[in-house]
């Protein structure tokens, strides 16, 4: 059961990711990214991480994809529908394939060290307790990071006529 689900969800994830990096239409790329991230959420469920699957659905599906689609609508690029790739894309393909070969071979070589077919999940209570006890300081730092990113995005993204107007 788990194996079948893994192959279905993994297939969806990989095919959609391939769509993200190869499609000519940039809006289709964003929608492929949504499909791929939902596949990853499904994989989290296969790994018994239900809370993180929910977080993945909410944050990626609900927030990040919407923001990316907004950015695509606001910076409409007509020239990218024709030429999306670099001239040197074969080099990128070779580098990626080489890295995949390296990672996959090392994972297979070391598989005897870590492998067991025994999976177990973590309850939400345990996760919350750990997050607010052992990881309380990083949690607070993460809240500061979010606040700084929020303020920074507002400052950078606001219209700023006084600087742009002079040089445009």
């Amino acid at each position: 059961m788990g194996l079948v689900l893994f192959y279905i969800l993994g297939g969806i994830t990989i095919v959609a990711a391939l769509g993200v990096v190869t499609t000519r239409n940039i809006v289709y790329g964003a929608l492929f990214l949504l499909v791929s991230l939902m596949g990853v959420a499904g994989l989290f469920v296969v790994l018994f991480a239900e809370f993180l699957a929910l977080v993945q659905l909410l944050i990626y599906g609900g927030a990040i994809i919407i923001v990316i689609l907004f950015a695509l609508m606001l910076t409409r690029e007509t020239d990218f529908s024709i030429a999306t790739e670099h001239r040197r894309w074969p080099v990128a393909a070779v580098v990626s394939l080489a890295l995949f070969g390296l990672l996959a071979s090392s994972a297979i070589n070391d598989s005897s060290l870590y492998n067991s077919d025994r999976r177990s999940g973590i309850g939400i209570e345990e996760l919350g307790t750990g997050l607010f006890e052992n990881w309380a300081v990083p949690f607070e730092i993460a809240s500061i990071v979010l606040l700084v990113a929020l303020i920074g995005a507002i400052v950078i993204g606001r219209s700023g006529d006084e600087e742009d107007g002079g040089q445009a």
Partner: protein
């Protein structure tokens, strides 16, 4: 035959390398950002897989780190898209090849 850790590792490696290809080969800054999201998700799969296949059932480190990765990814997307919008208003393009102001 049942599900093993190595299956998830290979899947995450494939996803990471697709993201790497996207970062290297794409010319639109927004597409580069989407490829970075793919790479972050590959790392998350690896972390959760290691945490699920671990022997001791009291280690939650993997899942907690994934929460922080998702947090930082959200902050990164917001900031990066603000920078891209600014760039588009100033230069009229988001093609990463044409943004070469600091090229020597």
């Amino acid at each position: 035959m049942s599900l093993e850790l190595v299956d998830f590792q290979i899947l995450a490696a494939a996803l990471f390398c697709l993201g790497l290809y996207g970062v290297l080969a794409r010319r639109s800054a927004v597409m580069v950002l989407m490829a970075v999201e793919l790479m972050l998700n590959a790392v998350n799969i690896n972390l959760i897989a290691f945490s699920a296949f671990r022997p001791v059932s009291s280690m939650i480190t993997g899942q907690v780190i994934v929460i922080f990765v998702i947090t930082v990814a959200a902050a990164e997307v917001g900031l990066a898209l603000a920078v891209i919008m600014r760039l588009y208003r100033r230069r009229g393009t988001v093609n990463v090849d044409e943004i070469d102001l600091m090229k020597g």
